[in-house]
């Protein structure tokens, strides 16, 4: 790691002294979400000069993770966000003849319907004083609902409070222990993201934890899904005959293509019917449909079989479930790619964004961008996140929405021997019209929440506002006090929001020059494969002849300018560091 930080030092230096002299860039990447970070890393890796701009003061955009306090300020920002005054006059003057300007949107509207509720007491109730309670509630300026809930909590009977509950004050105090992701996804152990991390050697920048168990909500209670061989063996809820049926079906799914006779009559019919036809018992059907294949009632048989197969192929690579989760949150992943991009010379600028694109009228290609400080920077490709595109450049505005809820609880949804497991919970639609909800419960050893708490992410594709979609599920799964403070609540804090899902859009959805590459934001699926595949296709569009993320060399195999191989040894001393800096000055 020592090496990395020195090379980063190197790049900061360049930022200071060389930045303004950069006139010709290969790729300019704007708003680094996962897709953009991967593209930037891939371009930088094969020697392209990359400038990475973000108007925010944190990495990874909607893929970011925040400390609790960071999240509170993000919530504040969301409410206050106003368009920065346009610098139109400034950049107008930088446009030459034969060029057109395409302004970018300054307002990010991808997050909506943000609501926050707090169920934790504000302070430890040692000596209950009515007036103290009421005076406290104005402290965290949360949404209106939260205030109401707190208000109603003030006449609480303190004798009910027996066990020591975590207070809001405590959450704020320990806020740095939280890493709260805006996007909740898991990594399939043989998915595109894991493959890429391994192939590119980017995996060395992060650590991972296995998802310990897969749960589902069935008949009003949460139960464990037996998905691996060991699970099926140990399961107490299945009869031995069910065990055999389940294992037999799963074994069939592993190479279902070899036995087309088994399912060919069902290719046009839903997977659900195929399961019924296989004479699987009701709970087996539930497990397979909702928790293993994780498909809907309407998914066709072949797709369901493929999903089951993918799940099974991912089992056993790193553990008894198919999933991994990065320690410190999913937001680590874009940062890892940013790091690799920087190691290979990519330049990063936060709180700095592009005002408009300069388009050559003849070729209809972007030749430069103009930033918020009125600088004109030449570039041959421009990669941008969808939210920066103004409506004028859109052919279609058919968005979907993702409903999200983030909970901090003090008790696992299914307590077990180990309190340090990450659980994935599948919740089938509560009503036929409602969406299926995916829930991930993170424990404190995943480095995303403070000890004694769980960080719970709920995700579904929206049918309405996030709160409307998810609150009924939360009330089914958790004990949420109707009158906060009246009785101890498992849920300490809840945030709801909707995030725009632009994954259905493609290049034909925009009227933009061909060297502008629009990346859509996070989709609503469980894994990141969509974003990775998109990154790869954009990369090949930009650099058709280059390899996508070849393995990064080991530090000891890198030859520095002028020198032979670096002296080996534990860490680098001062002289090596300066050498490094000098060489980059040349």
């Amino acid at each position: 790691m020592a090496r990395i930080s020195q090379i980063e030092g190197n790049f900061q230096f360049r930022e200071r002294s060389q930045w303004w002299s950069v006139t010709m860039l290969s790729v300019c990447v704007h708003f680094p979400g996962l897709t953009e970070s991967v593209i930037a890393a891939a371009c930088s890796r094969v020697g392209q000069s990359v400038l990475h701009l973000d108007r925010r003061n944190y990495y990874a955009g909607n893929w970011a993770s925040f400390t609790f306090n960071g999240l509170l300020s993000w919530i504040e920002q969301y409410k206050q966000e106003v368009p920065i005054t346009e610098l139109e006059q400034v950049w107008r003057s930088l446009i030459d003849e034969g060029e057109d300007a395409v302004p970018l949107s300054a307002l990010d509207s991808s997050i909506s319907n943000l609501e926050v509720f707090c169920y934790a007491r504000l302070h430890e109730v040692s000596e209950p004083k009515e007036d103290q309670h009421t005076s406290d509630i104005s402290e965290p300026s949360q949404s209106q609902e939260e205030k109401e809930s707190q208000l109603s909590s003030s006449p609480a009977d303190p004798t009910v409070e027996v066990q020591k509950k975590i207070t809001y004050q405590k959450l704020v105090k320990e806020g740095r222990r939280f890493n709260i992701d805006l996007v909740s996804k898991l990594m399939y152990s043989r998915g595109a993201l894991v493959d890429l991390l391994i192939k590119s050697n980017v995996s060395r920048y992060a650590e991972f934890k296995n998802i310990g168990r897969i749960l589902t909500y069935r008949n009003g209670k949460v139960e464990q899904v037996p998905c691996s061989r060991a699970d099926v063996f140990a399961s107490k809820q299945l009869t031995v005959v069910e065990k055999r049926m389940l294992m037999k079906f799963l074994t069939f799914c592993l190479d279902f293509e070899q036995h087309p006779e088994e399912y060919q009559d069902y290719t046009e019919k839903p997977f659900r019917e195929f399961l019924k036809n296989k004479k699987l018992t009701e709970n087996l059907q539930h497990f397979i449909l909702h928790s293993i294949a994780m498909v809907t009632q309407h998914t066709l048989t072949e797709e369901g079989l493929k999903a089951t197969q993918h799940f099974l192929r991912c089992l056993g690579r790193y553990g008894n479930t198919p999933f991994l989760f990065p320690l410190y949150g999913l937001g680590e992943i874009p940062q890892c790619f940013c790091r690799m991009c920087a190691v290979f010379g990519g330049i990063y600028c936060l709180r700095h964004s592009v005002e408009c694109l300069v388009v050559d009228k003849v070729s209809n290609k972007v030749k430069a961008v103009i930033d918020t400080r009125g600088q004109r920077i030449s570039c041959s490709h421009f990669v941008v996140e969808d939210s920066y595109i103004r409506d004028e450049q859109r052919q279609s505005t058919a968005y979907r929405q993702i409903s999200r809820a983030v909970l901090i609880t003090d008790r696992s949804v299914l307590p077990s021997e180990s309190d340090q497991q990450i659980s994935m919970v599948t919740i089938p639609p509560l009503e036929s019209s409602a969406p299926a909800v995916r829930m991930v419960e993170l424990c404190s050893s995943s480095m995303t929440c403070m000890p004694g708490t769980y960080l719970v992410h709920l995700t579904c594709s929206s049918s309405g506002k996030a709160q409307e979609d998810l609150a009924p599920v939360i009330s089914q799964l958790f004990h949420v006090s109707t009158i906060p403070g009246e009785e101890p609540s498992e849920v300490l804090w809840v945030m709801y929001f909707n995030m725009r899902d632009t994954s259905a859009l493609d290049s034909s959805s925009y009227s933009l020059p061909s060297n502008v590459h629009v990346c859509t934001g996070p989709d609503d699926s469980l894994c990141s494969d969509y974003s990775i595949k998109l990154a790869e296709s954009v990369f090949h569009h930009i650099l058709p002849d280059e390899e996508f993320c070849p393995p990064a060399p080991n530090p000891e195999d890198i030859i520095y300018d002028g020198d032979g191989p670096q002296a080996k040894g534990p860490g680098f001393d001062e002289s090596t560091n300066t050498e490094c800096l000098e060489s980059s000055q040349e």
């Binding site: 061989r229 063996f233 031995v240 065990k243 294992m247 290979f344 195999d557 890198i558």
Partner: protein, 580 residues
């Protein structure tokens, strides 16, 4: 190209690696030579420890170095205080741990670790147990670690309950780990022993009594739980053999008691035959024959010189001792070593006499699985049949069902058993010969049972696809045997146990070897039509059967031998009716 990271070429890397290797090898060889020199000079000092340490940490399998290290440590031990000895050996343990990381299956390392713990003034067994758990979590089948763990468990007195929980955990994480199942089978009888049969509740079992018939059995309550555990495993994965083997162990019973199962005495030839419950070497077993109260000096011999261990032994009584039909005799065979004996009375007017336990009474052929109450076995058969319905081609299930059926009612289930054998041969052709042999065994057992029920001395098993002969010790009294139309290749040495055999029919087989037709004192007639007897020498053993007069060899390749008739009449002069 600007901005592109320059990387060493593979050739450069290879070259560097090669040089590195060369350097390492040179250092290793010179250090090794230095160590061996020191050892032959008898130097036992710190430097020796240091040098062996360097070498062993790169190659922990160098046994000589571990030996040298032990010599040095033993020497240093004499020079130091107790506290320092503790420290010395503790650092040794740390060092071994590092070596185990290099090779977790190094014999030298594990052996040395065991040794160090015996030298350590205050061994920390908890830590050792933790080490074993860590190693087994990395490789659950590391038998070195399993062995070492047994040493640790024994030395530290870990309770059997805890160990059983340990196997629960291992089996839970991977039930294909036979090491854990097997370990379980050694723990359960200690933890849940089966109450001793026939023991009155008042008599306290004395700890000195030698392990009894059922000593490694498990009490029924626990057994039912274990059956359930195995069901879970083989219903989850019926192709995994670990659970099936464990299940067979659960259903099985201990080895049969060692006893004299039969004594046969014949006035003709004044010969005694003794059958044992398992093959023994009679000459060294301290057998004593008492005739009418007088111990006799007799020469024990097995029925065939090739059988050093045999279930049947013969001896000749002194001439004239029982030849007079008008005398009554009482014969006792004592097996002094096993504190057992068997009597046999030879009454006036009888040419022969025997005393034995019948196969039916002893339930001999249910021996593999039969201790359980039949209700339990019946329930297990049902479970297996349920699995077979789902997995009609599963060989483990089929085989277990066959065994259960045999344990319950071998004759009643004969038809189903044969059908299952047929399926087995089809689904597992690689082992079809094994299944054929097993099927032959069961058919022979059934025929023996039927013969005993009918109280006859005729054994007929023709046209049953027999591939092998067994249980021949049970056929000691048979006078007529019909083995025609099977697939037998030979009459094995054991065949010589059929001491009463008079007529043998074995037409239409593929017999090429007649070794077992050896010194059969009553054999008169042999029919071997359509077999594969090729050479005259194959018939030589027949010469020892002195009563043989009729021999049918039609349809054997041997008839093509030149001068066969004259050769045969020379070899077997007493044969009067020879068909070629």
């Amino acid at each position: 190209m600007h901005g592109r990271v320059k990387i060493k070429s593979t050739a450069q890397q290879e070259e560097e690696k090669r040089k590195e290797k060369e350097k390492k090898l040179k250092a290793f060889v010179s250090a090794r030579d230095a160590v061996l020199k020191k050892r032959s000079a008898g130097e036992h000092d710190e430097e020796a420890l240091q040098l062996t340490r360097q070498l062993l940490s790169s190659n922990p399998d160098f046994a000589t170095l571990w030996n040298y290290r032990r010599e040095v440590l033993l020497h240093l031990e004499t020079l130091r205080e107790k506290d320092e000895v503790q420290k010395l050996y503790e650092s040794e343990l740390h060092f071994i741990e590092a070596c185990l990381k290099v090779n977790p299956k190094s014999y030298g390392c594990w052996h040395h670790r065991t040794w160090v713990n015996t030298r350590l003034p205050q061994p920390d067994w908890t830590r050792e147990l933790g080490l074993c758990d860590r190693c087994l979590s990395l490789d659950e089948r590391n038998f070195h670690c399993w062995d070492y763990r047994r040493v640790v468990v024994k030395a530290s007195g870990v309770s059997v309950e805890q160990e059983l929980q340990f196997t629960d955990r291992l089996i839970g994480s991977n039930f294909s780990n036979y090491s854990s199942w097997h370990y379980r089978s050694t723990l359960l009888p200690q933890l849940h022993p089966q109450p001793a049969p026939d023991s009155a509740p008042n008599t306290s079992p004395s700890p000195t009594t030698s392990p009894q018939f059922h000593s490694h059995r498990v009490c029924e309550e626990q057994l039912l739980k274990e059956y359930e555990l195995s069901h879970n495993a083989f219903f989850t994965d019926p192709n995994d053999q670990s659970a099936w083997f464990y299940y067979r162990w659960l259903l099985g019973r201990a080895e049969r008691e060692e006893m004299i199962s039969c004594v046969y005495v014949s006035r003709e030839g004044e010969r005694v035959s003794v059958a044992f419950s398992k093959p023994v070497h009679a000459q060294s077993e301290g057998l004593m024959l008492v005739l009418d109260g007088q111990p006799q000096q007799v020469e024990w011999r097995s029925t065939h010189p090739r059988l050093r261990h045999s279930p049947v032994w013969l001896c000749d009584l002194p001439p004239g001792s029982i030849s007079d039909m008008s005398n009554e005799h009482n014969l006792t065979i004592h097996w002094t070593e096993k504190h057992t004996h068997r009597d046999c009375a030879l009454y006036t007017g009888c040419a022969e006499s025997w005393c034995r336990d019948s196969a039916t009474n002893l339930e001999l052929f249910r021996s593999e699985l039969s201790v359980e109450k039949s209700s339990v076995l019946q329930a297990e058969l049902q479970s297996c049949n349920q699995l077979l319905e789902l997995e009609p081609q599963n060989k483990w299930c089929l085989l277990t069902i066959i065994l259960l059926m045999r344990a319950l009612d071998p004759l009643g289930h004969e038809k189903e058993t044969l059908a299952h054998f047929q399926t087995l041969k089809e689904v597992d052709p690689m082992r079809s010969t094994y299944y054929s042999d097993l099927c032959s065994k069961f058919l022979i057992e059934n025929t023996i049972l039927k013969m005993e029920y009918a109280e006859v001395r005729v054994f007929s098993l023709s046209n049953k696809n027999l591939t092998t002969l067994c249980h021949l010790d049970q056929l000691l009294f048979v006078t007529h045997i019909n083995l025609s139309s099977n697939q037998l290749l030979r009459l094995p040495p054991h065949f010589a146990m059929l001491q009463c055999l008079e007529v043998l029919e074995a037409d239409d087989n593929a017999i090429e070897n007649l070794e077992g037709l050896y010194h059969l004192p009553k054999l008169e007639e042999v029919s071997l039509r359509n077999n594969q007897i090729c050479k005259l020498s194959d018939l030589e053993s027949l010469a020892s059967c002195t009563k043989l007069t009729r021999l049918d060899l039609r349809g054997n390749p041997v008839h093509r031998t030149a001068h066969i008739e004259s050769e045969l009449s020379q070899l077997l002069p007493r044969v009067t009716a020879l068909s070629l």
